[in-house]
């Protein structure tokens, strides 16, 4: 059996698909999720059924009703022990990675995280490719264990395997023991985030680095971002200099974005920054140095001082915004 671990209300489609591709012909793909006494699983079973998953095990215990990494990991280790799957997969999101790491530690098993490719061998060895340093490097590795544990990155290659008929997914209640002391690492409070555009999801990000020159220098980036319906981002140099808060930082240790348009102003394009913005559809670099890596890798490049280029761009946007009105009034006079 291949077991997929569901840590949120949603299941990324690639998770069961990859599990299916790794499973032998007659090997079932099943799923496990966590819940308290009264936690409802909503339409999870229906969604999983659509992905060819035949069974959803609900590991239940009063301590599992809210996110509790140690307790969830402990419960997963117990489920692994009970069901004896040959492999266990979770998404490489914060929760999936954390719960699997806890289960791996408890079950004394190795774990391969952030995998983009997985393939099995006859002798049970998995050949995995995992991303390193945010995707700048790929690591080929062998995973050898009685139960192979891996988390899969969003960019995983999904092998084309025929889906099992989208049958019913049976829900199996599965009470688990959780040592009471594990209550020590439960979430005790949730504070909802402010609504509005966030760096991670904004369609446009206007980002500044050392070349912006200081905190005040970001005013013109703010203005452009607002004009384009986006938000301001920055490089680690801007964060470290105290020009911008860390929540604005794009990159390996900041936020990874995939905007429609990324405008990199005075940012050299170090790998650790690049991995944070490289999934954007269009990248425009503005830099005094035409040799800067960002100027080579971007879609479009403007050579120049950010404090000359951006004001000129804003002026041009305003000019064009007024233009049709001018054209119309000319028409009316005629």
């Amino acid at each position: 059996m291949k077991l997929v671990v569901v840590t949120d209300a949603t299941v990324p489609a690639e998770l069961p698909a990859v599990a299916r591709s790794l499973a032998g012909r007659d090997e079932p793909v099943e799923a496990v999720t966590f819940g308290g006494a009264g936690t409802e699983t909503g339409d999870l079973a229906r969604v999983l059924g659509g992905h060819g998953v035949g069974r959803l095990h609900v590991a239940r215990h009063a301590l599992l009703d809210d996110y509790a990494p140690e307790a969830w990991g402990n419960a997963l280790a117990a489920v692994i022990d009970r069901l004896g799957p040959s492999g266990v997969l979770a998404s490489a999101g914060d929760r999936g990675a954390e719960v699997l790491a806890h289960a791996a530690a408890r079950a004394d098993l190795p774990l391969a995280t952030d995998c983009v490719r997985l393939a099995g061998d006859e002798d049970g060895t998995w050949h995995v490719t995992r991303t390193r340093s945010g995707g700048v490097l790929l690591e080929d590795a062998e995973l050898r264990a009685p139960v192979t544990l891996a988390t899969i990155a969003p960019a995983v290659e999904v092998p084309q395997v025929p889906l099992q008929p989208a049958g019913e997914c049976e829900v199996v209640e599965s009470a688990v023991d959780v040592p009471p002391e594990l209550a020590r690492t439960r979430v005790v409070e949730h504070v909802a985030s402010e609504t509005g555009l966030s760096l991670a999801t904004a369609p446009v990000v206007v980002s500044g680095g050392r070349g912006v020159g200081g905190a005040e220098g970001f005013a013109v980036l703010e203005e452009l971002a607002e004009r384009l319906g986006g938000v301001v981002g920055c490089s680690r140099v801007a964060t470290n200099n105290g020009w911008r808060p860390h929540r604005d930082q794009v990159g390996l240790t900041g936020t990874k974005i995939a905007a429609d348009l990324y405008i990199a102003c005075g940012i050299s394009g170090a790998t650790q920054h690049w991995v944070g913005c490289m999934d954007s559809a269009v990248i425009l670099a503005i830099n005094t140095d035409p040799e800067a890596p960002m100027m080579q890798r971007a879609t479009y490049a403007v050579e120049g001082d950010v404090h000359e280029v951006l004001p000129a761009v804003l002026a041009e946007i305003r000019r064009r915004a007024e233009e049709p009105a001018v054209a119309e009034s000319v028409e009316r006079q005629v």
Binding site: P69, P110, R132, G135, E139, A141, T185, V187, L228
Partner: protein
């Protein structure tokens, strides 16, 4: 409050990542080394907590002898002691690294707080801390970007998720993995550096058994981006830029 911070020596590369000819590792002959940003924040937080509550900060690293350089950097930031677990290399699998960290902790008094980075900057397995914490019977919370010691000897720790902030209240002793953004790490001062240079490091030798994940080789992903299209220079490029913005439907 006694705090141990685990830091890892990692190569500092720029726009290109050089690999050895056989692809087995990053070619570090022409690179400097650093500690990851998450771990820098962990050191900073430890130094702040100890200056507020008293105690001492020990930094621990697993690697070659040269990793003493990273310990000294942390000492220059204000840590008090350094422990080098000499394994000859940082290229260990996460189970082996955890074993080596545990070997380094074995003769240390139990700290109130064991701090880690959320993930190491190069390998990024995201599991060494959890393995170490479990082996030591410590509670562990991960990905923390806010923390405070509370009066009852516990720790209030927060982490950001797309849905909002999650709050944990954890009894100490505990292990915590932190993320960059927790604080703004200081730059070491010159007197700090001089003092760190002379500091004594405790060295422990360790040859951990390999775990079940074996690195076969590293490679660079294919980069299929064509070179950038130049739009011109300075203010004169503005019309071309706005054409693109219009094409993308942004203005």
């Amino acid at each position: 409050m006694d705090i141990v911070v685990c830091i890892k020596r990692v190569p500092a590369f720029g726009a290109q990542v050089p690999l050895t000819d056989d692809g087995s590792a990053v070619d570090t002959r022409h690179l400097g080394f650093t500690i990851g940003p998450h771990e820098e924040c962990a050191v900073e937080e430890a130094v702040r907590l100890v200056s507020a509550h008293g105690g001492r900060v020990t930094v621990l690293t697993v690697g070659p002898e040269e990793a003493g350089e990273q310990l000294r950097y942390a000492l220059a930031m204000g840590a008090h002691r350094g422990v080098l677990v000499d394994t000859g290399t940082t290229d260990l699998d996460p189970e082996a690294t955890a074993t080596a960290v545990l070997a380094g902790l074995a003769d240390e008094p139990e700290p109130d707080l064991l701090l880690f980075g959320d993930a190491s900057a190069d390998a990024g397995h995201g599991q060494v801390a959890i393995r170490v914490a479990l082996a030591r019977g410590l509670p562990v919370v991960g990905g923390i970007t806010g923390m405070d010691a509370d009066a009852g000897g516990g720790l209030r720790a927060t982490r950001e998720t797309p849905a909002g902030t999650e709050v944990f209240r954890v009894p100490m002793p505990a292990a915590v993995t932190v993320k960059e953004g927790l604080n703004l790490p200081r730059y070491p001062t010159l007197p700090g550096r001089l003092k760190a240079k002379k500091a004594e490091l405790r060295t422990v030798s360790c040859a951990p058994e390999p775990g079940g994940l074996r690195t076969v080789g590293l490679r660079r992903p294919a980069d299929d981006r064509a070179g950038a299209v130049p739009l011109g220079r300075g203010a004169a490029a503005a019309p071309a830029v706005v054409d693109i913005l219009a094409e993308l439907g942004k203005v």
